[in-house]
């Protein structure tokens, strides 16, 4: 299966080499860490937009991601499509199937990262199942992801217990390793997950797969407080977050909200890549505005009001 590199990416590569070592130097500082610091200073809930790379094509994903970033997404999670997405609900399953049908490979997704890095400074997190990373080879993947300009990686089906080599490979190249905590996680496990995570910790809001839900689970606030006891890392909450009301509520509990299926439903509905970018941007704008106002404000106001 040969990798189909979209035509406009070759010019992007040139742009990247023109900029020389500057992005690499920035990366050491940690784009993700800086972003969360800025959000905290502003007393603002972060919005993380998940986009399945390659649905319906890598070119389309580039447009969609740039539109989402421009509309206010603080961090982008780029989903690497996998044939057997056991943690995902129907919307992201279908997105993954479309992405694979369009010939998307991990190599192609890394090309997309390289392209995006020449156009935006938004933190980029690769969101993948473990097998594609493993098949590329963890060292080779880490090297490629870092040089393309990715900031972090989350492997859905990888827990800290199985992640020794992975953490070493990614960590040594300045890539953040983000792990999931879940409502079923014991205190002992949350401590281990917090210890293994850098950049932020991803808290799964409920038992279940990804996908939009009507309401947030009642147990979420105490769960988030429990996690908070074990880490000073920012906490991002995902799974089932789709509406401005969800985002508003999260402000008092977490540092960021992750929205995925709701955005990929926009992509699925759209008749073209441009329409998908417009649809995703509109939803991101609505959600980010909810994140900036109302309940989303931290109870402790920013030390420096001028930061707003």
């Amino acid at each position: 299966m040969s990798n189909t590199s979209p035509s406009n990416f070759s010019s992007a590569n040139k742009a990247s080499s023109r900029e020389g070592g500057k992005p690499a130097a920035e990366k050491r500082g940690g784009r993700i860490e800086r972003k969360f610091r800025a959000l905290a200073d502003a007393g603002e809930l972060g919005l993380i937009a998940y986009i399945t790379a390659g649905d319906p094509s890598l070119d389309a994903s580039a447009k969609i991601v740039l539109a989402a970033a421009e509309a206010g997404a603080d961090i982008i999670e780029l989903g690497v499509p996998f044939s057997d997405p056991v943690a995902d609900g129907p919307v992201i399953q279908r997105a993954s199937e479309r992405a694979l049908r369009s010939g998307t490979t991990l190599t192609g997704v890394l090309e997309l990262v390289r392209h995006l890095r020449t156009r935006t400074n938004v933190p980029l997190v690769l969101f993948s199942y473990f097998n594609p990373l493993l098949q590329m080879g963890l060292e080779k993947f880490a090297e490629a992801a870092a040089s393309a300009g990715a900031d972090g990686v989350l492997a859905t089906d990888l827990t800290p217990e199985e992640a020794g080599e992975y953490r070493a490979a990614l960590g040594s190249r300045g890539l953040d390793t983000i792990f999931l905590a879940a409502p079923t996680s014991t205190d002992e496990r949350i401590a281990r997950i917090a210890e293994a995570s850098t950049g932020f910790l991803y808290l799964v809001s409920r038992t279940g797969v990804t996908g939009a839900r009507e309401v947030l689970p009642e147990g979420l606030p105490p769960l988030a407080r429990r996690v908070r006891r074990f880490t000073s890392l920012p906490i991002a909450v995902g799974f089932g977050i789709s509406a401005p009301a969800h985002v508003s509520v999260l402000g008092g509990i977490a540092d960021a909200a992750v929205v995925g299926s709701a955005l990929m439903a926009e992509v699925e509905r759209a008749a073209s890549a441009d329409a998908a970018a417009v649809g995703v941007a509109a939803l991101v704008r609505t959600l980010k505005s909810a994140a900036r106002s109302g309940l989303s404000r931290r109870s402790n106001p920013p030390a420096n009001p001028a930061a707003e």
Binding site: A87, L106, R189
Partner: protein
């Protein structure tokens, strides 16, 4: 054989490099709970007593070890014994594990059982046991498998199970497991996932193996009684590999007993045309170690780590991965793995029907086909035990197409 092979996984569920626990975080605590509950049950005599009673009075154990005199005569090779798991209630070895795990579920206070099924044999066994123990049961089955195993779909529904068709991916066993895992991750507090083969995250490969090892324990005693010696060869088909590991396990320490696992060679050697994960030496393409559905093992996949579709006439062997313990037995050279084509399996089923009056499941017919191929080259004083893991009633439609 330099040293005794490892017969238990390490504390992280590893058989050599294979196995482990690769799951979304939500499932880790339930897997740990299962591991604890299983350890307690193993140490509890009343659990074993209840299981033994069900195996004996409900499922029909022990199963006979039948000397196949006419097949032995016709092939003019080794003395052939059939371990008759096909005679069990519901028609296959699957009920051994279904009973054990369902009792565990009851112990853990779970009232709902989730299962996946390929050929439908594990689904039927699970639906049966759920009915017997008063548990509710949901079975996931690929829509392609539902089509080719319609009778089993009807049986499960008759037994009160909900059968949910899975229309994603290859619409076979792999996709049914994905959907069962999604159900489990959602309903994890109330439901037990009754995985049907030696697959998945630790401790499943060990639990399923332990509930199936009674096959080999019985066979070992039976052959010692019949022949006053151990067999030279064990032969069994391998999908996930539960009937094979069930037969092999009691003989792992017997260095002179050779073990042969037979995979589905399907209709060709290129990726997508077969389900041969460990028989790569025979030219079957696409098998490399990787992570799927909780475990690190040999998988049929493309260069990018996307899992391949597979093909076999037998739904129960039509799966891209193989149990991690088999991967380890293969890598150590303790067991040998080979593959048999659709056509040869069907022919073998017909042979057994006519020569011994037994219609085998198409899965078991793969093991039989390999025995038929090798028998002429074996000595007459050699002894073979073949695991006849299931009966062929479910395969009538497919068999009739080949007549």
């Amino acid at each position: 054989m330099s040293a005794a092979p490892q017969t238990m996984p390490d504390s992280r569920g590893r058989y050599g490099p294979f196995g482990g626990r690769y799951v979304p975080e939500t499932l880790v605590a339930p897997l740990e709970e299962l591991e604890r509950a299983y350890a307690e049950a193993r140490a509890d005599k009343s659990f074993q007593k209840e299981l033994d009673d069900l195996l004996h009075n409900f499922a029909g154990r022990p199963t006979p070890l039948q000397f196949a005199s006419r097949l032995t005569e016709q092939l003019a090779g080794p003395r052939i014994y059939l371990k008759r798991e096909d005679l069990l209630h519901t028609g296959a070895h699957k009920i051994n594990n279904a009973l054990g795990q369902a009792l565990l579920a009851v112990r853990m206070g779970k009232k709902r059982i989730i299962a996946e099924t390929g050929a439908g044999q594990h689904g039927v066994a699970t639906a049966t046991v759920a009915a017997r123990l008063g548990l509710t049961c949901t079975v996931y089955m690929g829509t392609e498998d539902m089509e080719r195993q319609r009778l089993n779909v009807f049986r499960m529904r008759l037994l009160g199970a909900e059968v949910v068709g899975v229309d994603s991916g290859s619409r076979t066993l792999k996709d049914a497991i994905n959907e069962a895992m999604r159900d489990w991750v959602t309903n994890v507090r109330t439901s037990h996932y009754l995985l049907g083969s030696v697959l998945g995250a630790h401790p499943y490969p060990q639990i399923v193996r332990d509930f199936q090892k009674i096959i080999g324990e019985e066979a070992r005693e039976q052959i010692l009684r019949a022949e006053e010696r151990l067999p030279d060869h064990l032969i069994a088909c391998v999908g996930g590999g539960s009937n094979a590991i069930g037969l092999f396990h009691a003989f792992l320490g017997d260095a002179n007993v050779k073990m042969l696992g037979v995979e589905a060679g399907g209709r060709g050697k290129s990726l997508g045309e077969h389900a041969a994960r460990l028989a790569a030496a025979e030219g079957f393409a696409g098998a490399r170690p990787g992570v799927l559905q909780g475990t690190y093992t040999y998988l049929l996949q493309n260069a990018d780590g996307q899992i391949s579709t597979t093909h076999s006439v037998s739904a129960g062997l039509d799966y891209p991965g193989v149990g991690p313990e088999h991967a380890w037995l293969a890598e150590q050279g303790r067991a040998e793995y080979t593959a048999v084509s659709d056509e040869d399996a069907v022919a073998a089923a017909r042979t057994l029907a006519r020569v011994e009056g037994i219609i085998p499941a198409l899965e078991s017919a793969h093991a039989l086909a390999e025995l038929i191929r090798r028998a002429p080259k074996m000595r007459k004083d050699e002894v073979v035990i073949l695991n006849l893991s299931g009966r062929g009633d479910k395969d009538m439609e497919i068999l009739s197409r080949y007549v």
